[in-house]
Symmetry: C2
Subunit: 300 residues, 2 copies
């Protein structure tokens, strides 16, 4: 039996743009939680929000120390959770950090982060994916424009737009070292992408995004409508963005690495099902199917 798919993508050789079916704020702008009404309204309008003073300097320093331990632990061995840069071989991402490291596990439960996700999604939440992105200096590759939801829907089976991402920089972001760029307002449309998903696409797409990217014409229309913003979020602050906000980043040829922590909070009512693209699901470390029960605030 064919699953009904409200957001078809990669099925046709013509792109399409569909209206978003779910709200952005699942309990509106009056929802109780860490964010003010004004912050919630900006998130709803733009599809992203910078929140300051989320972590103290000491908390950031401790996370950087843990990251160095993690990096050292992967040296000289292959591990599926550790993804390398295509050319240099340097560590690019570490997945499921909230499951393999106690400090990052506690970070995922931090009230300034997790409670914001609950406020926006109006539900208990679990971590669909977590990772540390390490964009090395000199040879850090670009990441082409994409909506995360498009991938999570097609490849992971996430039914609806009821997830939010939190990214917390561990290094200074400048205009020069490949900061995240976002298209304000792009979260209100679903861009149905052309082309098919190759089998085991994640092995390539975690290094270089090629499928699930918008066609030039649609991207240009989104940017003409909303522009491009690259908020220079600093360590201690957090960039929140909706699961469907179009984003990407240019290459980083500066000597300065760009590292950040990335948590995807999904509503428990939006647990993943069979991938809508019909392929077998991506592996557990990229998109969990085994640990979809709500995060417990007692783990803080």
């Amino acid at each position: 039996m064919t699953q009904h798919d409200p957001y078809p993508s990669r099925r046709d050789n013509r792109p399409a743009v569909l209206e978003r079916r779910e709200p952005v704020l699942h309990a509106g702008a009056d929802a109780a939680g860490p964010l003010s009404r004004d912050q919630l309204e900006r998130f709803e309008r733009d599809g992203f929000l910078v929140v300051e003073n989320v972590l103290t300097e000491g908390e950031v320093a401790a996370l950087i120390d843990e990251l160095e331990l993690l990096r050292a632990s992967f040296e000289g061995r292959e591990d599926p959770v550790a993804i390398a840069e295509p050319e240099s071989g340097e560590l690019r991402s570490v997945f499921m950090v909230h499951q393999i490291n106690q400090a990052y596990r506690r970070l995922a439960h931090h009230p300034n982060i997790m409670d914001v996700a609950r406020q926006i999604l109006a539900d208990e939440v679990y971590i669909h994916q977590s990772r540390i992105n390490l964009k090395p200096g000199f040879k850090g590759k670009e990441f082409y424009w994409h909506s995360d939801f498009e991938t999570w829907h097609v490849e992971d089976g996430m039914p609806a737009m009821r997830a939010v991402s939190a990214t917390l920089p561990l290094t200074e972001n400048t205009h020069y070292n490949g900061p995240l760029m976002l298209v304000p307002g792009s979260h209100r449309r679903f861009v149905s992408c052309i082309g098919e998903t190759p089998e085991d696409n994640y092995k390539r797409s975690l290094r270089k995004q090629e499928t699930g990217t918008p066609d030039n014409e649609t991207l240009k229309a989104l940017v003409d409508a909303g522009g491009i913003e690259a908020p220079l979020v600093q360590p201690g602050s957090m960039l929140l963005f909706d699961c469907n906000t179009m984003h990407g980043s240019a290459s980083n040829i500066t000597p300065f690495p760009r590292s950040n922590v990335f948590f995807v909070y999904n509503a428990v009512s939006n647990q993943v099902t069979s991938p809508f693209g019909g392929r077998r699901p991506r592996p557990e470390f990229v998109a969990t199917r085994e640990t979809m029960s709500p995060l417990d605030p007692r783990s803080r």
Copy 2:
């Protein structure tokens, strides 16, 4: 007989940093010409300078029209002066534009450009290389850090640091569409690069710079000392930079192309000789050896 080489590069597997032998302002900061003493001093200090009000809006519009004619003229045929993007095949550069197009020929003789080069170099000048760079939107590739002089010395036989580049944007530059980044102060040192020059390197290096690039440690030291600047030069203005200023640009994934005109003015007393790298010279359209007589102001 071996040529004496004051700036050896690509001869060793260890990098080296040498002091610059020539001045930056060849007749000092009192030289007569379009630039003020203050502008000359900033150029001397940083190795680059933004000069505003070089062209009128009408002049820029006319150049853009000519560029579209040029672009159309290359469609569907191969021409060595027209370089394509490695992946998309889109036009990336047109070389020797001042020889193949009358409007760009006159631009090279424009008093606001050519006379600035004469003021800095304290000599009559000729065009060592000219081109239009068209960094397409969506898929514009990065250009890694390099000193132009390093290439011109090793591959073209330019003896000394007595050349200056003028770049004039034809499109808006933003932080997002891969603007030129420069390292202030880097022009005072010569970074001797590691590795050898492959035969016919220009065929690759015009698309993607790989040889003649600084090692990570030296680049980091230059950036630690001088920082990185990406001046957002707008159409009508000009970015001047010394032949030895370290520069590069990140990829451009935005829908916005980044096009500019690029002229290299060399002092006639600094005409090229045999390439110091010992290979055969690059072709005429990349680095002239046939038209090294001074530009004549009557061609304006």
